[in-house]
Chain length 418, copies 2
């Protein structure tokens, strides 16, 4: 994979060190985060946690005999795509045509676009990539109008687009709600035999919050898949059955594992947040998975938070308040505010655990308000490390993230393309 | 100003047309948004509204005899910085050292950094820029620790840093809370005469929500400023007095206008969101300003929303629901969800006003849920144009925004550097 490793990083933007570098030479520069050699706030990826999470998910997926198509919209980072493909992922899942184009530009050649492809400019982007016969691609369809628009567009260009029927939950997001809607869409796809190929069935169960509902949706999806398979509706040697966001992948694995025993079926799971994990919703999901899933229970400890933010205390204007240089421009805030986990005073040996009662009370665009006790020893210039509560909306605040070793020395940089 | 207009846009990322282009040649390509020539979702800036807002704020500031240092953190776009400087802005306000570096790299030579400068890597960034004698810069200080750290760092390098004393509100963000704290900080600055120069006083009133409190804070700031001026504490021929975010700039103008009559005083106002405005908090502020400020009352209509988002209907899975290809990755959602204002069906003449009852009920990373009536005529493939409710957190979701004329033809592209 070409990941443009020789591209010069112009040191534009935030969270980088001084000087200039390329992704390959960043490690040689040896920026030490704790020594004031990185502009804060900075987003870091702990190498040890990334390696652990990659191995953990690889083992989990292998235990069920499934394949991993990790959602790339989480990170949109070619270096992290490469890491996952090298660890055995089938391909990368993406959410939009521009995301697919950027992944392709950085060497990804197998993409499941887990979204409808509707507007003409986005169809044109995909059509441009399909000119490469080595590029393997499929996207979703859930309406007759969508199937007809794709059929007309790709037919005119002499291209054949592989599509998955999307199954959805009542009251949920995209996807057909019942077998009658499914049948209409499948018939529409069949009206464009030269332009469209039905390659399988897809579901996103993450819109649901309760396990019983998730299992019911997955079983309805599986029944739809088996009915279409029995009717010979799928093109190609292997039909795709795909589900799983980052919260319910264990349940999807349990429900779809039997189908994967059929050599004519390929089950693709799409969690994306496992790679960096978090200290919010996915930590709670991880606890549930380890309590209930038999494979996870046999494995060592679960996923580890790999994505963290470092920031500096800018002001101590009142005894119970510190103002930190970290804001909505730097961290997800929709699923819980960043959580302070380490406190470091430059010049001292190593960071210490932040007291449990230190919590962000609120956050503005470029500042966060930390509540603490009047007597707490936290000074202007001290550094704080935060866990985050939503990887996707943290990644898209950064164009560069730093890979760091366990001593917080920078070992590399990854770029994002949002 | 060099704004790298010949830089090739690689057509990486979202919200652009097909092909390749440079900012200068985008207009020649003539992408027509309504004809499916722009990948959706896309963020657009309406030229006519930008021009109106620039002129409006220029007239307002001139009427009070003040100067404008618009906050650049809102847009972080060199093209939009240039537009404001060409329209007469004194300089650009910024929030962080990396923002300052990027503005400098694109030709900005006068910066008020409306933030504390604390960590060493950020000081190093600023020190690097101060090597250019033509670069005019100041930042804030609100603590003895901060003043001493700056004094030591810049003194070691033989540089003199201009600083403003930051005044803050009790229970608010950064800034000294009372004259005793102010005196301590001023004395600390005075201990580093070769490294630090006290250039004035700054306040950010936007943390307060009520006008009476805002006026009280501004009067305390003015009193602090006048006391320091009477004591000869300021270096340089003109002392800076600066306030104003985008919600209370009228009140700041009223309170600080008298001070600006003194030729030894320079009053800098820093609103940033006026340029694009919004349909949320700033529209409400605009209504208040036009109801109460005598200068605004004499002027024509107020600011206009210039930043809008176009997106495509991806799915109509249920009669009362449409799924739109627009998400938290594309729009601010912390101060109100995007508001649908126009509905366009490709192939028809022109967009029509969206019905009042069309509202987003919720939003996910890449999708929005539009609630409508079962009989409403909205189809898969239709386009919707949205007003936004917070410019800052919308801008930072885009690396390119398209400038458009009133027929939605693309006339240019602006880049952002977050």
């Amino acid at each position: 994979m070409s990941t443009e490793n020789s591209t010069r990083i112009p040191l534009s933007g935030k969270g980088l060190g001084a000087g200039t570098a390329t992704p390959q030479t960043v490690a040689d520069l040896g920026w030490r985060l704790l020594e004031g050699e990185v502009s804060l706030p900075a987003a870091v990826l702990r190498d040890s946690a990334l390696r652990h999470n990659l191995a953990w998910m690889g083992d989990f997926i292998a235990a069920y005999g499934l394949e991993l198509a990790p959602h790339g919209k989480t990170t949109m980072s070619p270096e992290l795509f490469a890491l996952q493909l090298e660890a055995g992922a089938w391909g990368i899942t993406l959410a939009t045509a521009p995301q697919v184009r950027d992944a392709y530009r950085h060497g990804v050649r197998r993409v499941l676009m887990a979204n409808q492809l509707v507007d003409r400019a986005n169809m044109a982007i995909v059509a441009g990539l399909l000119a490469d016969a080595e590029f393997e691609f499929c996207c979703l369809v859930d309406s007759v109008a969508g199937a007809d628009a794709l059929g007309a567009f790709f037919g005119e260009r002499g291209l054949r687009l592989r599509v998955l029927l999307e199954v959805g939950a009542a009251g949920g997001r995209t996807g057909v709600r019942d077998p009658a809607q499914a049948e209409e869409v499948v018939q529409a796809i069949a009206r464009w035999p030269r332009a469209l190929a039905l390659a399988g069935v897809e579901v996103y169960e993450g819109v649901l919050k309760e396990e019983a509902g998730v299992r019911a949706l997955l079983r309805r999806t599986l029944a739809q898949f088996q009915a279409l398979r029995a009717a010979g509706a799928f093109a190609g040697p292997r039909a795709i059955l795909s589900g799983a966001g980052s919260a319910w992948y264990d349940v999807v694995a349990e429900e779809f594992a039997a189908a994967a025993k059929d050599p004519g079926v390929q089950v693709l799971l799409r969690p994306g947040c496992y790679l960096t994990h978090d200290a919010g919703a996915y930590r709670r999901a991880d606890a549930r998975i380890h309590a209930s899933n038999p494979v996870a229970r046999r494995m060592a400890d679960g996923l580890r938070p790999a994505l963290q933010l470092w920031a500096c205390v800018l002001s101590r204007p009142e005894p119970g308040r510190a103002i930190v240089g970290l804001g909505k421009r730097d961290a997800a805030f929709d699923a819980g505010l960043p959580l302070p986990v380490l406190h470091h005073r430059p010049g001292t040996e190593a960071p210490r655990a932040a007291p449990e009662h230190w919590r962000l009370g609120s956050i503005m665009d470029q500042h966060a308000f930390l509540d603490l006790d009047a007597g707490d020893d936290l000074r202007v210039g001290d550094l704080l490390c935060f866990d985050i509560c939503h990887p996707c909306l943290t990644f898209d605040k950064w164009r560069h993230l730093l890979r760091v070793d366990d001593a917080w020395r920078v070992t590399g940089v990854v770029r994002t393309y949002f």
